[in-house]
Amino acid sequence: MEGGTQGKLSDRFLGAADVVINWSRKYSLWPLFFGLSCCFVEEATAFTARYDIARFGAEVLRPSPRQADLLIVSGTVFKKIAPVVLRLYEQMPEPKWVISMGSCSNSGGMYDVYSVVQGVDQILPVDVYIPGCPPRPEAVLQGLVMLQEKIVATERPSRKVFHLGGGTQGTDRPVLVDGLTKARDSRGPGYEGTPLRGSSVTPPSFFGSRADVMWTPPARRIELTSRDQSLASVMEERFGSAVRQVPETSDMMAFHVDESRFKDVLRFLKTEAEPKYRRLDDLTAIDESARRDRVWSTGFAGAVSDVGAAGRFGEKAPSSDPNPDFTLVYHLLSFDAASRLRIEVGVSGESPVARSITDIWPSANWYEREVFDMFGIGFEGHPNLRRILMPHDWEGHPLRKSYPGRATEMPPYTFADAQRRQPLDAGIALRADHKMADDEEKLVLNIGPHHVSTHGLLRCIVSLDGEEITGLDLDIGYHHRGVEKIGERQTWHQFIPYCARVDYLAGAANDLPYVLAVEALADIKVPERAQTIRVLLSELFRLSNHLVWFATFAHDLGAMTPNFYAFAEREMILDIVELITGGRLHPSWFRLGGVAADLPEGWKEAVDALVSIFPRRLREYESLISKNPIFQARTEGVGPISLEDAMDWGVTGPNLRACGLEWDLRKKFPYSGYERFEFDVPTAAGGDCYSRYLVRVEEMRQSLRIIEQAAANMPSGRHVTDDYRFVVPKRADMLKDIESLIHHFVNVTRGPGIPRGEAYVSCEIPRGEQGYYVVSDGLGCAYRMRIRGPGFANVQAIPLMASGASIADLIAIIGSVDYILPDIDR
């Protein structure tokens, strides 16, 4: 062949160039600073001291796609964020690679739910998949090494580099198509037409549920205090038959109120009642259409009392609808008396309308938007009623019982969808929110959803005059994992793993309000040892969470060093968590009636080591930051919120205590044995970023005190209750006696039936008050699983703190509020 020698020569040159180029690329990969959810925490941990991914040649996370060539899709790909993910990928220069990290990104994982794309490979080509939920940092290292091997083994970049035609580099795999090149069905291809196991017992049909053939005792009843009773009589006097007290409840006093009067009732309770219910703790709705008897029976358990109740409504209140299609539920909180109250309002129709209470509680704004979004209930008088969690062009209302819960019941989300379904334009959003006049000409800027400083998928839409923020609209819902809908199809035990993922930095502390709520409803007694283990783990996670907050907050304000320090102690805490539970971020360790297993050998030594070492480290951190003049200039007097506003807007946790109010649920509504511990509730005055900083740092000290006491005075006894009706029995018992074996079998397979009723329990998790409102219709899974996340209310108040601030201040405020997206969007 002519020119053979020449061809060979150039081939040899190109071959050598391939080797050199691949070698250079392999050891200088630049990952994009891009995270979606839990997985990103582990990804970021891989960059810190213990794991140090720099050893493998991927040193610094790049904040802009223009500077990055590796996209690690870490976490859940939501349908609302998918167009953004695709755009970031397309904006990266050639060549580029993609690692899909974690089960969610790989396949949707445990989130087979309407809002989640079942695998990022449906919109992007993927080189390497890292399995795990979440994968450990070591797995990230392994993924990176596998990508490096792939580059060396399969890529021939020099022909592309020298424009000679041919050659391969970067990701060249095709995007996968459901049904052709991939199957979304987790059972694999070929199961079309066969329903998923367990789907028959979910709403709306409940066909085949065996919960009814198991006898369960009625739900717990509480005795009302004399103060509650006197308030009830005042209400009856004042509002007559429009207000009907729920005769028996499991958690707090409750009233059914007619829609015509409920606003008056709420205003009375906030401003005049004794005690005053100052705070709207939570506002949500229940779709009653799948109630098995369609009788308004919330608050009752057992068939006998149902009949009685229905009769009662018929006699006393002929005007009210005994079978409303939806129930609006308002949970109120009184600071003076440390008590809660529930108001339930029935509304009916295909798209019912209730009165908005935004003029009583400004915080109702987002809550009502959420109810509108999820249930299709309108609110008359709401200033800006539009979707909040779902994309603006979404169809249907996901929490209605008629709406499909699973993504696999819907058409697959494709590349074309990700191109077409763009997030709402920033200008439209600002104008819809009355944050910008129609004819105003301002610089409109999106900060987030992909931004280093927004700590997750939050989109701040700002209009700017120079550097000053003139309008701020927060666009949330990019992290909506549909966990409330999932709660309606998983059994009471199966739901526990989802809890920790609601606030992925607070781990086991998340499980607590859920298990307490179910325990309150079913009257499950928890042994003292289990309570103390729960406290121990919750406080360990408070420490670990505050350490991450400390590092990232300082980082936001330009201080890199704390990141490297704080993550070292965090690893120490996670080691203890791993020793006890076997997990890191999501231990799923609490169980109904106790915890999953007893403490292992060696736990006390590990905890003691932490207790002895930590105070000194904390002093070190403080000496880095607390008196730092730059830090003080950036935070003192920045982003203030008054106590009045904080109470009105439902701000909770350290953010509320930074306004000077000593309000901590661990003291005010002691749960899980917190009354046995000695600790202080740190507060600060001023409500600015610096106060929030001070409160959290002091909280770390107090948490450590609790941990010390829990370790020193760990009670002996069982780690799980010995009444096995609702709980998963101890393994040793299960192997020994037939009773336990039966309970184990039933409670693990189809799950226990929890008595009909409802309970709301709120706990002080690291970021504030997280409440679970569980409603049971007597079945094996919840009828309604409502999560009140602290972030939702805290973040809603950010525009208040940021009014008139500069962009740099906004970053400081965001860092100081310490929110987390999965708990805002759920």
Binding site: S64, P65, R66, V84, V85, R87, L88, E90, Q91, P93, E94, P95, K160, V161, F162, H163, Q169, Q422, P423, D425, A426, G427, E441, K442, L443, V444, L445, N446, I447, G448, P449, H450, H451, R459, D465, G466, E467, E468, S806
Partner: protein, 136 residues
Amino acid sequence: MQPIADGGVLSPWEPGVFTLIVYSVLVLAFIVSQLFLASWLGEKKPGREKSRPYECGIIPTGTARLRYPVPFYLVAIFFLIFDVEGAYIFTWAVIYEDVGWPGWMQMSFFIVLLLIGLFYIWKHGGLDWRAAHKVN
């Protein structure tokens, strides 16, 4: 040592134009080669999304060519004035001994004048970013 050539233009021993030219050509050639290699080497896949401005993954709204608020210009001008005057002072520092006391007096007068200007701006809030912003 005596210079070999009298003219000195091409002499390697005396500072002259020739070395400067050689140096400049080398620098220029290096820069051009780097720019050329960077722009020519490697694969390019232009596209609509890639050429769109990056704004946190969202399609940007409106224009970035707005009327800038006045304080930005103020800061720029203040910077320019004081920066250029720095150049005068550095030059003076080089020939400090040659110009003697009269030079010192002149420069002191110049610096005092600058300081008066600085205090004037300070007093009127020109350095106070937020307040100046409000006034304008």
